[in-house]
């Protein structure tokens, strides 16, 4: 009996742990091995390695930067920009090993696309002074520790949230909006703060019900959260992270509009997704590569904003014209600085 109980507790702990990570234990599928070719002599080819917490088809965080990098490659030419990537690097130790390997194998720029990779990067970067690193979401470049080869980047998720908030407030008739969030931290928190501000600025009477699943990959719980929001009266839904595909499925089944962020989510359900505020990383990536070519290996903070085109909103043809107009006005206001977002404590 005693032995049995321990076994059960162990299984529960394992379950809990697995439930907490998007990618348990290993990453068998696709691109997990850094390419092993020898460092090439200095030439005009830029080699970029990308470390992703989820996958290139997550229709959210990871897909957004991968898509932009591929677009940049199409623009520069495959002989000028080489890309390697590792997916499912949610666990920091796996990611740290991959970062080191990329750096040691002749990559010019290693992008660690997740807030959790920071401490590892601070340790690794000084060992490879010739290599540039980029890390986001973050505003820390490690300059205070004497590190000069890390670029920090930060998408202004609050701006994306603000514009989608304005749109949602215009769309709702019940004056209740449901937000399916992952965790109340980092980029996701910024998004929620901005969304609430956008809704409030448009129609203070609209209520936003916010829920978090405690995970980025709990598709089933995200779906149930969407169901709950609908039962609680919401007639417009939004949310961030890769797990929202579950919520989009529920929104579609109930004929309720969904508003996406990060990547273009209309691919999941075109008739349901009214708009997506997408992260367009192309210019940011271009800037980093240009700075590196000019001799700056790091030490700067870059942002994705509406002003620099790093955030764009794609609207569905089905979205009502007045709502789109209001949202576009918000985009313009954020771009020219006439709107500033004040996050209120929740």
């Amino acid at each position: 009996m005693r032995k049995l109980s321990w076994g059960v507790v162990l299984i529960l702990i394992v379950s809990l742990w697995l439930a907490a990570c998007t990618a348990p234990v290993a990453a068998p599928a696709g691109g997990a091995q850094p390419a092993a070719e020898a460092p090439a002599a200095a030439d005009d080819v830029v080699r970029v390695a990308l470390l992703l917490p989820s996958t290139i088809n997550d229709i959210a965080w990871s897909q957004s930067i991968y898509t932009s990098l591929k677009e940049l490659q199409a623009e520069m030419g495959e002989d000028k920009l080489e890309i390697a990537y590792s997916e499912n690097m949610f666990n920091v130790p796996d990611a740290a090993a991959a970062i080191r390997e990329y750096a040691a194998n002749g990559y010019d720029l290693v992008i660690a696309h997740g807030a959790q990779y920071g401490d590892s990067l601070m340790e690794i970067a000084p060992d490879f002074p010739e290599v540039s690193f980029a890390w986001g979401t973050s505003t820390r470049t490690g300059a205070d520790q004497g590190i000069t080869n890390i670029f920090a980047y930060e998408p202004r998720g609050d701006q994306a949230g603000y514009v989608t908030g304005v749109l949602a407030a215009k769309l709702t008739k019940a004056k209740i909006i449901g937000l399916v969030g992952p965790v109340d931290a980092g980029d996701a928190k910024l998004h929620v703060d901005g969304f609430l501000a956008g809704v409030k600025a448009t129609d203070p009477e609209v209520k936003v019900n916010v829920s978090f699943t405690g995970s980025f990959g709990d598709t089933a719980l995200a779906a149930e959260a969407a169901n709950t929001h609908i039962k609680a009266g919401a007639d417009v839904l939004t949310g961030s992270s890769q797990q929202v595909v579950g919520a989009i499925g529920v929104a579609k089944e109930n004929g309720i509009p969904w508003i996406g962020v990060q990547a273009d989510q209309s691919t999941a359900a075109p008739e349901t997704v009214m708009a997506s505020a997408i992260y367009d990383w192309k210019q940011l990536l271009k800037d980093i590569i240009a700075k590196r070519a000019a001799g700056t290996l790091g030490g700067e903070v870059l942002q994705l904003t509406y002003a620099n085109g790093g955030i764009r909103t794609i609207y569905s043809d089905a979205a009502p014209a007045d709502a789109v107009e209001a949202a576009k006005a918000a985009e313009a206001g954020l771009a020219d600085g006439s709107i500033t977002i004040v996050a209120e404590p929740r």
Binding site: L4, S5, V8, V9, I11, L12, V14, S15, L16, L18, A19, T22, A23, P24, V25, P28, A29, G30, S54, T55, I56, N57, D58, I59, Q63, G181, V183, D184, N209, S211, F212, T213, G214, S215, G217, D218, T219, A220, L221, A223, E224, A225, N227, T228, H229, K231, A232, Q242, Q243, V245, G246, I248, G249, V250, K252, E253, T267, A268, A269, T272
Partner: protein
């Protein structure tokens, strides 16, 4: 906050709880058969993912959702056969081979999604089917009879598995093989054949658990969409004391608390979301530690059977 405990909220919580228990029921009842015959299959998670993808892809290609379910059952059975070969015939350590199967399913389903579909695209799975008459009953109707058909089948599995386990020769053999394989063998029961049957049956049901997500509740497939659900199903078998009713109660407890915490968040109850998310897990551990006293594990669980001379 003021409407936290009114009837509509309570019905909403119960309704969500009934629905959320569905994948756990399929997976845990299937797993229970395997364990009652002495085989611990930790590969449920991977089998669920493969089943979920098979059903999703079938419907994605234009097939009827029922054909998708059939594909999930077949893929599940196939993976069960693999597990049985490894753990029954080759007598590999069951825990390790199960985890291997789990990772295999995770990797393969992710790869297939990427190669065959690309980014997740929603599909038209089973619609909600309100059972005529029954769904009109106040309170009970909206809680129990307002779901898609895979939810109803999951609950039908409970009496069916009770019957099979305790009222059929097959059930008797399963229990005998899990309790005392030597004695069963001496009475002419083919121990390994029974174990093959239960592991394949259990995996087929795990495949169906995946289908209940991808073509039932969610109508979409996403990489690793089960997110540890299969491991919770294994824990529920222990929790339920290897009995169908116990598994049902465990699944309902876990899913109802999950639903409860979602409602608390949506209604703006002043609880930190991190704490709310932990609730179902904490309560399950507490219930195990305090409530469950009389569990007797199948004596031959995880022990491969080799015929003595």
């Amino acid at each position: 906050m003021d409407n936290l405990l009114n009837t509509a909220t309570l019905i909403g919580i119960a309704h969500s709880g009934v629905r959320l228990a569905t994948p756990y029921l399929y997976a845990a009842i299937g797993e229970m058969f395997g364990q009652r015959s002495g085989v611990l299959n930790l590969g449920v998670e991977g089998v669920m993912l493969m089943g979920a993808f098979a059903a999703y892809y079938g419907v994605f290609l234009g097939a009827d959702p029922w054909l998708g379910v059939l594909a999930a059952l077949l893929i599940g059975a196939l993976m069960g056969l693999l597990m049985a070969v490894i753990s029954v015939t080759m007598q590999a350590e069951q825990g390790i081979s199960g985890i291997g199967l789990s990772l295999f399913g995770l990797g393969l389903s992710s790869l297939l999604l990427k190669v065959l579909v690309g980014s997740p695209i929603s599909i038209q799975g089973f619609p909600v089917w309100q059972i005529p008459g029954l769904s009109q009953i106040p309170i009970v109707g909206p809680i129990f009879f307002d779901h898609d058909v895979l939810v109803y089948i999951a609950y039908l599995l409970v009496p069916i598995s009770l019957f099979v386990l305790y009222r059929t020769t097959f059930g008797l053999k399963v229990r005998a093989v899990g309790q005392n394989p030597e004695a069963a063998d001496s009475l002419g029961v083919r121990v390994n054949a029974v174990r093959y049957a239960t592991v394949i049956l259990g995996s087929a049901l795990a495949g169906m658990a995946g289908a209940s997500l991808s073509v039932g509740l969610l109508n979409i497939f996403q990489e690793n969409m089960t997110n540890g659900l299969g491991f919770i199903a294994v824990a529920l078998v222990y929790f339920g004391g290897w009995r169908p009713i116990g598994v049902l109660l465990g699944a309902l407890l876990f899913s109802t608390v999950s639903a409860f915490q979602l409602w608390m968040q949506v209604l703006g109850a002043p609880i930190p979301p991190d704490l709310a998310v932990m609730l179902p897990y904490i309560l399950t551990i507490v219930a195990l530690a305090v409530g469950v006293k009389q569990i007797r594990q199948p004596a031959a669980l995880t022990k491969p059977y080799e015929r003595g001379e």
